[in-house]
Symmetry: C2
Subunit: 441 residues, 2 copies
């Protein structure tokens, strides 16, 4: 094995993923060298605190606090620090020193991706980021390469394990959101500050990355519409189950045909929100903290990619695949292949998006109420597909409250939200219990 060319690998960060990457690189070094056609020498691990506890036992002499020195002279730099700074500065330093870089940093890529890719292009370096979306699931190469000759129409992804775990337990056990969340925090599945997960920030970063790849367009994180799961409750999950749906936090990336208002080309929508998914859809069967990405393409049809979306050792698998790819490229020569962003499709605001909806209203149980509601919907260009009415309370005087569950045909988000506002303000609606989008049917 010793006749392989030596490549110097620098690792930045030794957290849950980083420590596993280092351990596997040391353990399987010979095997990986055979696959890469190059010897992968881990020359150092940059950390903030040399004495911090690690998940894995690693040789003390590899650790350093001097990331900048470590980066100089490395052939491949693996950035697993997370966060924006100093990760961004180090990544740019690595690229500018001519190294290929491997990163799992979705926040960084979703925010500064185009700057990073441009810098890599300028020096002919390659940026690898298979671990930045959906953890161990190979989804970056399939979108970037395997589907590069096709036209992706739509991606629906369960890309955040923590929220899927919470929603799945609410669904299967009838548990309350706050209870499951506290338990997930106690078990280490959810962070002490769960906002990145439950408010959809993590999923939105991944959506930006997936949409950029799928539509050959730079999608800034700011263009991703984002709603989290904290507005959901047990009643909504139960009602969804009763109606044959599961509620999933979805990242939806969609190609939109030109509208007939004289618009010229296609556009795209990128959005994260909890949605009703029919039980028969493969995404409804994604349980626990697993991830899955469902892709519809013009020629390939429907594809699904399923697996562990997070976890130190699982994510390390994706990182090491990138390290082997980077090593192979070094041996093969040539420059890096830049990101494909020349389609440059506009991202439409959420108001332009059309989906089906399920609207749950509590209304006065009086004659004529349904007609009023139906009239308001119709005036708002929201077409009704199904209506289910249930009396939920009756008073002695004959008045009472009924629940109306209205399934709509596809409606434009802006029309829908304006119409719901008018319903809420109308005299007959006591409460808008929920408005949920339906995806995947």
């Amino acid at each position: 094995m010793s006749d392989y060319r030596r490549l110097r690998v620098a690792l930045l960060g030794a957290g849950a993923v980083g420590s596993q990457v280092a351990a596997l690189l040391l353990k399987h070094g010979d095997e990986l060298a055979d696959r890469a056609g190059a010897s992968l020498e881990l020359v150092g691990i940059a950390v903030r605190d040399l004495d911090a506890p690690r998940d894995v036992d690693l040789p003390r002499e590899l650790f350093t606090t001097d990331a900048e020195e470590l980066i100089l002279g490395a052939d491949i730099v693996i950035e697993l620090m997370g966060g924006i700074e100093p990760a961004r500065t180090y990544l740019m330093q690595a690229i500018n020193s001519g190294a290929d870089v491997v990163t799992a940093n979705k926040a960084l890529l979703a925010t500064y991706g185009s700057e990073i890719f441009e810098a890599a292009d300028q020096v002919g370096a390659q940026v690898y980021y298979e671990a930045a979306a959906a953890g161990a699931i190979p989804i970056i190469r399939p979108l970037r390469d395997s589907l590069a000759g096709d036209r992706v129409q739509r991606i629906m992804g369960i890309v955040n394990g923590t929220t899927n775990y919470i929603l799945d337990r609410m669904d299967t056990e009838g548990a309350d959101l706050v209870d499951v969340l506290s338990e997930a925090q106690a078990l280490g599945y959810a962070e002490a500050d769960p906002s990145a997960d439950v408010d959809g920030y993590d999923a939105a970063q991944k959506a930006a990355i997936l949409a950029s790849l799928a539509f050959h367009t730079t999608v800034p994180l700011s263009a991703v519409h984002r709603e989290g799961i904290m507005g959901l409750d047990k009643a909504m999950i139960d009602a969804a189950r009763h109606a044959g749906y599961a509620i999933k936090l979805l990242a939806v990336c969609e190609r939109l045909a030109p509208e007939d208002e004289g618009e010229e080309g296609e556009s795209i929508s990128v959005r994260v929100y909890p949605a009703l998914v029919p039980r028969s859809h493969p995404l409804a069967s994604v349980h626990g903290a697993n991830n899955a990405v469902f892709v519809q393409a013009e020629a390939a049809g429907s594809l699904m990619f399923y697996g562990a979306g997070a976890g130190g050792v699982q994510t390390a698998s994706a990182v090491l695949g990138d390290v082997v790819s980077a090593a192979r490229r070094h041996i093969a020569g040539g420059v890096g292949v830049g990101e494909s962003t020349r389609a440059n499709l506009p991202v439409v605001p959420i108001g332009r998006v059309t989906t089906r909806y399920q609207i749950t209203l509590e209304v006065d149980d009086q004659p004529g109420v349904l007609a009023t509601v139906a009239g308001t919907l119709s005036e708002g260009r929201v077409s009704i597909a199904t209506v289910e009415q249930t009396v939920i309370s009756e008073s002695a005087d004959g008045s009472g409250v009924a629940r109306l569950v209205i399934g709509t045909h596809k409606a434009r988000e802006q029309d829908l939200s304006e119409t719901v506002a008018r319903l809420a303000a109308s005299g007959v609606v006591e409460r808008v219990a929920s408005v949920l989008r339906v995806e995947g049917d």
Copy 2:
């Protein structure tokens, strides 16, 4: 777009896949050029018969019968003729002329893969074959690149759409194999000579390709154990359903730990056979002509890839992804990345493989029979996990026949087959109704 470097693309074959590739290349040329960073000029389509009917309308002037001339001077050659010759000769000519090649030819790769890859290595060309296994499903790049830093333990794939369609209809409709097969032939889902599908040849070719990638080992087709579905009948499918299983034709690629008989290293097993899959396993839910590949890796855990395994336009998607990749590589420079085969693990014969089994016997319904059967199994080192006995006929004299369904613990194939032979020869067993392996539990 005209400032892109022009790459000359030659297409060999204009069948179901080839005609779609040509049509999509012509239709989406500008878009693909933007993605590839190169203009993809389809310079010709080599066919045997210029006047043969095509699935798609294509410009007449592109067709030629002179494949050799077309190949000369092409930058990228797409081979979609199928079969061994003349595909092999043309592919080697293309490689030796310095072109990158894209092929969907599983028979060719499974039989002459190492010769082809070696020739490509010598000239620094790249061979792309995403379409050669599981059609539109991106599985080659995930195995070759994304999982290159991991250790694949096991692959279980439904990689033949025709047999899955047949087995699924037998399962869901209680149909007979021969009836469904005739119907599939009438609908064009199955060939007039269905042997490639129903006898497992097609699946075995794909298994050889997947195992080679997963285990970094050249796996010759001759090393793949192969059984088809023609031995299955309605009764077996019904019994499987009753017991909570679906029967699927599986391609199983497995890494085996050293045996304790002083063996040195790991080995692998590659096999295709119909097996019982628990209903709860994701593969049991793969319906119709769809394909799915379930991968278990040391670090990544369980992954699944799902989609259309065949079809002209679906397979064309995978081919065009390869064409874009080839074009990007041409622009980036450098040599091709060779296949990773240095692990060079031995492929064990089927006799060495251990799985669980379900054995269905018809036995004399007499006292002591179960003890005899159990004794024979135990002597043969086959350990019983479950037994279910049902009387299926009774005579007036008190004698009769009972059905014994025996689920075993993991047993070695050779022990199992020898034991079943002894059971069949024993006086008490009237008939060995079926012996099926159980996978995925």
